[in-house]
């Protein structure tokens, strides 16, 4: 088997290497120039200057200057492009040993059809694409976005939904593009960094810190040039199996020819929590205020002498972020080197995350037609967590329950009150230490405009060591316990693509692409529980009297495939694309060796016709795409298996694991999308509209076998049909453009309505304790359970069971983004979004209400006590819903009654940037000062701690607000300096 693999790889490499025949190097010349904004005459930095169909190119510096060296003599075409600007083209006569000058002025455009985007087959002009692509120009941002890549996506990409999960520093979010099209296989996008695929999920959670980290956030935003987001299977077909959740491509910064350009970003600020829980609660669930005597619903008094001297559990968590980079190049080589350090303290003590790392991107041009890019990054993260979520030692779980907590104290000033010691929670030590290494080399060979070849080798290595320690002497585990996990994820990428461009006639052009990919995905994870330490001290696993290996996972899955694509163009205004992807996956069952995924798309630039009313609408492109992608089942899902266990006090045994399905194959999602891009008002206003419909067939559903058949684990089967449909609209443009005033704005609207059409008669239980199910005819997933049919009546509740209570993910997102620039120096910007249509289980409300510590139930519960004491009229003004929500009677209270609408508006970001004039300190060429605030305002009727949190990180879909720390507000002051 090893021989076969080796032969495969050798054959592949040998074949792919053959195009790179030697070519000679010639005597060369130089081109220099400057690029400016045509309206403001300000220099434009970061403009890409390139010679088409060659590997030669560079970026403009802060003064808009560029320098291209090693150019073959003759007439050379220069292309300049920048996101949001019309592209520029100019022919320049290059003489050996001489420097030619070529200056450009570029006009802002709301729609730029000649802009290059990177697709699975390489670079294509946007006009050729039959699907929508969102591009975020990160390099243009005044300071690196403080919330990392996941924050960028939620603010900048229509249809992207990023659930933050937790306000704990380091906690990773969940990314969804265009909603949900899979019940069991995850709905996250696949992610590439400079062509290298990286792990896109969350790292493992632990018993005390029930959040994982997102490897995507290890990419330092200061290093990112741009991000491209492709949504839906119609656009991601050629990316193959697993791509139906969309594709995110991150492109990091690269070197430029010329002297070294240094750039530094220094940011400092703080996190501030604000009020926790319902606004009427004066103590903020005993978190904002924890000093003195406090009372529960029934008047029980309690005191926590371990409360900090400030009288609050909260603090302002300090933030420091420092980035330094240098880019430059000479001759045939360019480089971009950077390093960063950041520290973010949470709003609770012991809550923090530190990151440090470096990036080294090198570009070589060893031969005239050959370029080589080597991109490497390394990040180390150290995160310290406070116990959170559904953990018996959880901070919110204990503090907000008042005297119903698990940590009792003895030092109270008043012996008549319940005495607490919640500070004991902070003696736990919960850490995540992570090392994330991404490296890749891309070789490009372009003998001319007619042929391009690109080969990428990449490796993503992500290692995490998690540890939860309750030390010796800890009150709930007196002899101590430690949970330890070592998780390593390795992903190898080999990606080759070749495109043959050909003008078939004066009107027709052809671009034929072939390519192949090979992904080797390995996960190794080891979990150990060690308990009963002999005494105090910093223990290791062997310090414990009892040690148990609770998990040992070593999984390897290989996915390999190839594709062909033909793009047929007509007069550079109409394009028809046909493609086919063929995949093999080691997880497929018998008879599923290779899976074909076809696609067809078309684009038509109507505004290129003479009949088009250009005075009204300057640019108009119609597009449509239909395509298929899939998701493979897990590595052993097709097999009937048994698990090795121990029984009879340590004797080896077997127990049924999985019943198996020999006919298991991938699920397939078809998508049809259509839309248009239009530019009006002299191309200052852009509209991007997309409507899509997705249908997933052979959906992989976790089917429950009858328990009386012995196998309790669910079995994946291809039994379901799902549907998802929606629209995405982006209206963006420059509302005012004067020499000293510019106002840009963007409004994004997206909707998606997913539904389980056919589940083969199954009701899929996603998480019964979170009342989360997938049922035919309802959104995926939804809450089901008991419903009060007369919620607002002043009467006993009428309750029906097994009722649909609401979908768990937003169906509509409206995002606003605006910026105003004054005198080319002062820029103010803001982003915010409404997320509508979701429901969320306020499980904190449920738990605390039945314990008498939910402030919103204090008044109702007082009336209930009066009623129980004989006041027959006490409940006259208590609604039926309040009677069950606030009940403290076993058999009456239930999670179901706390499933609430989760609509909210959040002001994500407000930023003020001032470009410092004539900044020459220590040789700096430019500098800017930025004051920013994130998560400044949330407007919602949702009653829980935060409409975005969820503790169920071990579930792919279920959401529940269960004692998870909410997101804080963040304030930052940043200085950006270029040298």
């Amino acid at each position: 088997m090893k021989y076969r693999r080796a032969s495969c790889m050798i054959a592949l490499l040998a074949a792919l290497a053959t195009p790179f025949v030697a070519a000679g190097q010639e005597t060369t010349g130089t081109v220099r120039g400057q690029v400016k904004d045509s309206a403001t005459a300000q220099p434009l930095s970061g403009v890409q200057v390139s010679i088409p169909a060659t590997s030669q190119g560079t970026l403009t510096d802060a003064r808009g200057m560029f320098l291209l060296t090693g150019i073959s003599p003759g007439s050379v075409t220069l292309d300049v492009q920048m996101i949001g600007y019309e592209t520029g083209t100019r022919k320049v006569a290059v003489t050996a040993g001489q420097t030619a000058v070529a200056d450009f002025t570029l006009a802002q455009r709301a729609v730029v059809l000649n802009q290059l985007v990177v697709t699975a087959t390489g670079q294509q002009q946007e006009r050729q694409l039959g699907n929508s692509v969102s591009t975020i120009d990160v390099a243009k941002m005044s300071v690196p976005p403080p919330k990392g890549v996941q924050g960028l996506l939620s603010e900048q990409v229509p249809g992207a939904y990023v659930m933050a999960n937790s306000g704990a520093p380091g906690a990773g979010g969940i990314i969804r593009l265009r909603g949900i099209n899979s019940v069991s296989q995850g709905n996250g996008p696949i992610i590439y960094v400079d062509g290298v695929r990286i792990y896109s999920g969350l790292t493992p959670t632990m018993p005390l810190n029930r959040q994982g980290e997102l490897g995507l956030n290890d990419i330092d935003p200061a290093d990112i040039a741009s991000i491209q987001v492709v949504r839906g299977p119609a656009a991601t077909t050629l990316y193959g199996t697993q791509a139906s959740g969309g594709v995110i491509q991150i492109f990091t910064k690269h070197g430029t020819t010329g002297a070294p350009l240094w750039s530094a970003d220094l940011s400092t600020g703080f996190n501030n929590q604000g009020h926790i829980g319902p606004s009427a609660d004066p103590t903020g669930m005993f978190v904002n205020k924890c000093s003195g005597i406090m009372t529960t619903s029934d008047g029980t008094q309690f005191e926590d002498p371990s409360c900090p001297s400030s009288g609050s559990w909260l603090r302002n968590g300090l933030i420091g972020k420092y980035d330094l980079s240098v880019r430059g190049g000479q001759g045939q080589m360019s480089y971009y080197l950077s390093g960063f350090y950041n520290n973010t303290d949470g709003t609770l003590q012991n809550s923090s995350t530190q990151g440090k790392g470096f990036r080294a991107n090198f570009g070589f041009r060893p031969l005239d037609k050959v370029s080589l890019n080597l991109n490497t990054s390394y990040t180390r993260r150290n995160t310290s967590w406070v116990p959170d979520g559904d953990s018996a030692e959880g901070f919110l779980l204990n503090v907000t329950r008042g005297p119903k907590n698990s940590f009792k104290g003895t030092d109270c000033t008043d012996s008549g009150v319940k005495c607490l010691d919640n500070a004991a929670i902070f003696t736990t030590q919960n850490t995540t230490k992570a090392d994330h290494f991404i490296t890749g080399v891309t070789v490009s060979y372009s003998p001319g405009t007619w042929l391009t070849n690109r080969l990428t080798f990449g490796f993503d290595y992500d290692e995490v060591v998690n540890q939860n320690l309750m030390p010796f002497g800890f009150s709930t585990h007196p002899t101590g316990v430690m949970y330890w996990n070592n998780w390593v994820h390795k992903l190898l990428t080999v990606d080759y693509v070749s495109t043959l461009n050909n003008n078939l006639s004066s009107s027709f052009s052809s671009a034929f692409s072939v390519g192949g990919q090979f992904y080797d995905d390995r996960v190794e994870s080891l979990d150990v529980t060690a308990q009963d330490f002999a005494g105090p001290g910093q223990p290791t696993i062997v310090s414990a009297a009892t040690r148990e290996v609770t998990g040992d996972e070593r999984e390897r899955v290989v996915n390999a495939g190839f594709f062909v694509q033909e793009v047929l163009g007509w007069k550079d205004r109409a394009f028809l694309t046909g493609g086919l992807r063929v995949d093999g996956n080691s997880a497929f069952g018998k008879g599923f060796g290779l899976q074909p995924y076809p696609k067809v798309s078309a684009s038509y630039i109507l505004s290129d016709h003479s009949f088009w009313p250009k005075s009204l609408i300057q640019t108009f492109k119609l597009r449509a795409a239909i395509g298929e992608s899939g998701k493979a089942p897990g590595a052993f899902d097709a097999e009937r298996t048994w698990n090795p266990i121990a029984g009879n006090d340590g004797q080896p045994g077997f127990t049924p694991a999985q019943i198996g399905d020999a006919n298991l194959g991938p699920e397939r999602t078809w998508e049809y999308e259509t839309g248009f891009e239009a530019g009006a008002l002299h191309n200052r206003l852009g509209v991007d509209f997309t409507a899509f419909q997705q249908r997933t067939s052979d959906a992989l559903i976790q089917v429950t076998a009858p328990p009386s058949d012995g196998f309790l684990n669910t079995q994946l089967e291809n039994v379901g049909k799902l549907r998802n449909a929606g629209i995405e609209v982006s209206v963006h443009g420059t509302l005012i453009q004067r020499a000293n005033l510019q106002w840009n704005a963007r409004v994004d609207y997206s909707s998606n309505h997913d539904k389980a059409v056919d589940l083969g008669g199954q009701v899929i239980t996603v998480r019964s304790t979170a009342r989360t199910y997938v049922e035919q005819g309802y959104p995926i997933p939804s809450y089901f359970g008991k419903k009060v049919m007369n919620p607002n009546a002043y009467a006993d509740p009428i309750i029906k069971d097994n009722q649909f209570l609401g979908g768990e993910y937003p169906t509509q997102i409206i995002a606003l983004n605006t910026s105003v620039q004054l005198f080319n120096r002062l820029t103010a910007s803001a982003t915010g979004a409404w997320e509508l249509g979701a429901y969320l289980m306020n499980a904190v409300g449920y738990q605390n209400a039945r314990k008498g510590t939910w402030y919103g139930c204090y008044a109702v519960q007082a009336k209930m006590r009066a009623y129980a004491a004989g006041d027959a009229s006490a409940l006259n003004d208590v609604t039926a819903l309040q009677r069950v929500k606030c009940s403290q009677t076993s058999g009456v209270y239930d999670y179901d009654f706390w499933i609430e609408p989760d609509n909210y508006f959040r002001l994500h970001d407000v930023t003020l940037t001032y470009q410092l004039p004539q900044f020459r300190f220590f040789g700096a060429r430019s500098a800017s000062l930025t004051l920013s605030g994130q998560n400044l305002l949330t407007v919602t009727k949702y009653d829980g701690t935060d409409p975005q949190v969820s503790d169920l990180r071990d579930s792919s879909m279920a959401r529940r607000d269960y004692y998870v720390f909410p997101e804080p507000r963040t304030f930052l002051l940043s200085l950006h300096v270029s040298f």
Binding site: M1, K2, R4, S7, C8, M9, A15, T18, P19, V21, A392, K404, K408, T410, G448, S498, L500, G516, F518, E553, R554, E555, R556, V557, V558, A560, G584, N585, S586, A587, T641, W642, P644, I645, A646, G647, N648, D649, G650, Q651, G653, F654, T655, P656, A657, G660, V703, A705, P706, P707, S708, D709, G710, L712, T765, S768, K851, S890, G891, Y893
Partner: protein, 402 residues
């Protein structure tokens, strides 16, 4: 130029063909799970039987927790969602999934394990020491189901009378007894006799039950095995009452019983205050019958056999024998003897107390209350659900139940 193009594309096509024709190594590596066919070897049989024991232990402790609340042996003191319904006696198919599933798996693993053993071992099965042990586990798993569920379902089949499980258990214990006798294994013989005696009682065969029961020594105990070796081997009832505070003895009849070794409990303090349960308000009286995660849980005992005989005597209105047998049982625990009850009616509460104490937290009480309720001598279950219904996952997934 043309040569370069041709070479490049020839290479690509070749690469594609290499992938297509020879195929890359797509084999998956995932050590850990064991293919079903790999168990078809004699060397795997001991571990298969250990698996039967392990799965039965899981089922017993999970069911014991639920039965403890359903039958008033303990009260709800925690935060779990289903427990309030067990305690209120209003549990339905959604609240018993864990118990139903674990009991069914224990039965399936034992019964189908025996079939596999017979196929793999051939005639060696009849003389192998694993045979009586396997039948014993099958018998106890069927008894567990019979005593606690409302209806029987076998291997994805239709709903049947719950007595089906007792009949299967009777057969299993008989087979275990036959093999154990042939092999001279006294422990397994006593376990089989004790198991069969309890099942015959449930089937109404009192003479058969007494005949088996009187062969079992008074000090005999046969346990479901628990251990701290791995988490799966833990006694979950101990975890939820000792490691956590989910169920309390407070408010039950047993909270008024002191210094009875059959019903050991203590009061947990936090400083000078009585510690509350995990729910924050129920005073925490902690069961101490299973003080450790490794505490075994009795499946059968000589004391239970004495009480079977005592109940049979009571049914025959033989109060003298009843009293003697109860006192014999109490003597096992060093308890003082009781006086003979004045009449049969006043003897029933004594029997109910004695069985309740001996079988406390062993997943047996619900069945006793159910059969005594049917007999009219106990009304605890009036207005409450008296048995575990077919769980919703079985009902939804089993086409024979639609």
């Amino acid at each position: 130029m043309k040569k370069t193009y041709m070479t490049g594309f020839a290479g690509v096509v070749l690469a594609g063909l290499v992938i297509l024709v020879t195929g890359c190594d797509l084999s998956v590596t995932n050590p850990g799970p064991i293919a079903d066919a790999a168990l078809n070897t004699p060397s795997a049989m001991p571990a298969l039987v250990v698996g039967m024991s392990a799965d039965l232990s899981v089922a017993v402790t999970q069911t014991a927790e639920a039965v403890a609340l359903m039958s008033g042996e303990m009260v709800e003191a925690g935060n779990y969602a289903d427990q309030q319904y067990w305690y209120a006696g209003t549990f339905g198919p959604d609240e018993v999934i864990t118990q139903w599933d674990d009991m069914q798996q224990a039965r399936w693993v034992a019964e189908h394990g025996i079939l596999r053993m017979q196929k793999v071992m051939g005639s060696d099965f009849d003389t192998d020491a694993l045979a009586p042990q396997a039948y014993l586990w099958a018998g106890y798993s069927n008894r567990l189901l019979g005593e606690n569920v409302c209806q029987a379902v076998i291997d994805g089949g239709p709903a049947l009378s719950d007595s089906v499980y007792f009949q299967r258990a009777d057969s299993d214990f008989t087979q275990a007894l036959t093999y154990a006798q042939a092999q001279g294994d006294t422990t397994l013989m006593n376990a089989a006799l004790a198991g069969r005696a309890s099942v015959l009682l449930s089937l109404g065969d009192w003479s058969g039950a007494v005949a088996d029961a009187q062969q079992v020594p008074a000090d005999f105990v046969y346990d479901a095995i628990f251990s701290t070796n791995t988490e799966r081997e833990n006694n979950d009832l101990a975890y939820n009452t000792v490691s956590r505070r989910e169920y309390s003895v407070w408010g039950t009849q047993w909270a008024n019983v002191f210094n009875d070794p059959r019903v050991p409990w203590d009061t947990v303090y936090a400083g000078s205050q009585v510690q509350n349960g995990q729910d924050g308000h129920t005073p925490y009286l902690r069961q101490m019958k299973y003080p450790s995660l490794a505490s075994n849980m009795p499946l059968s005992s000589g004391a239970e056999m004495l009480l079977i005989r005592a109940e049979a005597a009571l049914r025959n209105s033989d109060l003298a024998s009843f009293t003697t047998l109860v006192n014999d049982e109490r003597a096992v625990y060093g308890m003082a003897p009781i006086s003979q009850p004045a009449n049969v009616a006043s003897a029933w509460p004594t029997l109910e107390f004695e069985r309740g104490a001996v079988l406390w937290l062993e997943a047996r009480r619900l069945w006793d209350l159910r059969r005594w309720g049917a007999q009219g001598v106990n009304n605890f279950l009036q207005g409450r659900n008296s048995c575990i219904p077919i769980a919703s996952d079985e009902a939804l997934s089993n086409p024979n139940l639609h």
